[in-house]
Subunit: 312 residues, 2 copies
Amino acid sequence: MHQRSAHRSLLVIGSVALDDIDGPFGFHKDLLGGSASFIARVASYFTNKVSVVAVVGDDFPKHHIDELTALGVDTSGIERKAGETFHWVGKYAPDLSTRETLDTRLGVFADFAPKVREDQRDAQLVLLGNIDPTLQLDVLRQVRAPALVALDTMNLWINIKRDELLKTLAKVQTLMINDEEARLLAEEHNLRRAAAKILKMGPTSVIIKRGDAGALLFHGGGAFAAPAMPLADVKDPTGAGDSFAGGLMGYLAYAGDLSPATIRTAMIMGSVMGSFAVEKFSVDGLRDLTTPRIQQRFDELAELAAFDRVRL
Amino acid sequence: MHQRSAHRSLLVIGSVALDDIDGPFGFHKDLLGGSASFIARVASYFTNKVSVVAVVGDDFPKHHIDELTALGVDTSGIERKAGETFHWVGKYAPDLSTRETLDTRLGVFADFAPKVREDQRDAQLVLLGNIDPTLQLDVLRQVRAPALVALDTMNLWINIKRDELLKTLAKVQTLMINDEEARLLAEEHNLRRAAAKILKMGPTSVIIKRGDAGALLFHGGGAFAAPAMPLADVKDPTGAGDSFAGGLMGYLAYAGDLSPATIRTAMIMGSVMGSFAVEKFSVDGLRDLTTPRIQQRFDELAELAAFDRVRL
């Protein structure tokens, strides 16, 4: 690994939640979920300069936060408030390709007002996990001069807070969303055209996550396609996109630069970490990862995608 | 290009058809279609050792065959019989992501009995385009000792001629199908598991075509993922899979070997040729291609997929 002093600091804002998940592998209750839970854990494998701003209720098991702390994450920005933790209940189709939300209980998340502490305001990389775009903008007002701000969002905000989202988007460098959200946001089915429309909304790059079809990066300089590892055992897609984001931003923090080559490698690290996430429920696939295991899957993905440049 | 004497011969069996296609870009009647039409044309850009076995009716415009001949394809195996040419009528969804068959008129194709001429029986590469698996097996009995036989099929045959298909599959080296067909054939949604099941049916490699998500190769030695070019202008997906197959087999004929590295490059050439095919209707996107244009898109695809192998 690089010298840690060269790492950039990464500030993560997102949800820390409890999920109930039904699907082909049975019903699982009170699983650790939420974008920040995945992002921070994943990024911690690349750097110890990760700090989180989030909120949990007084029902939230303390050991989840202790685990993050043990991984080197600064969890002092995870506020504990009286009330219920954000709770998501979802059901996956038998083939895991689609899911429906059965219930969303916002709990303490309903009044979440992210407070970025003084020592977090100089964060060099900021990842605005999928929360209300008004709150995302609020965070942006509190940080000073990050080298890169990346934003995730979802169909809910695109549908009900489009204007606020567009205002926030105008102030970030990178948008990370899935293919259906990109289509919804751009009102355009073709992904290349959708990306071009999104790039006119403010971001200088857009990353479109496509599940087992990999991820696409579009920016002024062109495009990059990161493959997904074809996995024989997929248990739970929840958090795959957040793990992708955590791997990408964690690697950027680790590498210490934002060159095109580094960003491509970071996309592959995102794909690697997403692949670990879906193999087990909750964050279980991300537990006890080691640098050699991450390196091994990176090498497998590189081997999966390698071909010779030939001249006809 | 390699010396042509080093090229391997490629025998293509498939349909030559007329298509009526409805969709977001209007209704187009009597377009040139059929698997062999795409495969042979595409392969002709890599080698002039392509010959075709097919059948057309007396209504089939002669100029389509003249064009293939002008491209260096041996079209003497395209039989002309009294009756109607195989005619497919289909309608694409507004976003082109799905299609339905409105009508299929087999015409002279109903009695198609592929006859492989003496001089075609020594073909080194054989591509069995998507036709009745009984006919595909019939062709296999007529060829002598090809280095590689690849087979394409579709949901229709998987559903109504499963036993015959399995018998034919047992005798080919490579199966090329799309993701939905792979799932149907293997009775397994997960593509990696589906591929593993298909490899037990006989083929030593299976190529799963996924449209704009690229293509996956699975074989005993592992897996390879070929990206698809993200295109801003897609007019007609008809023939994309056949163009992929034509590019792959055409490149294998051109390269003259079947090494793992050559097969990976051939997959990329398949992706390149599929990308040209969908940009216009019928074979129009494949007209007037030149080696430099093919090379240019190959280079673009290589650039799209390139990333550094790093060590953490």
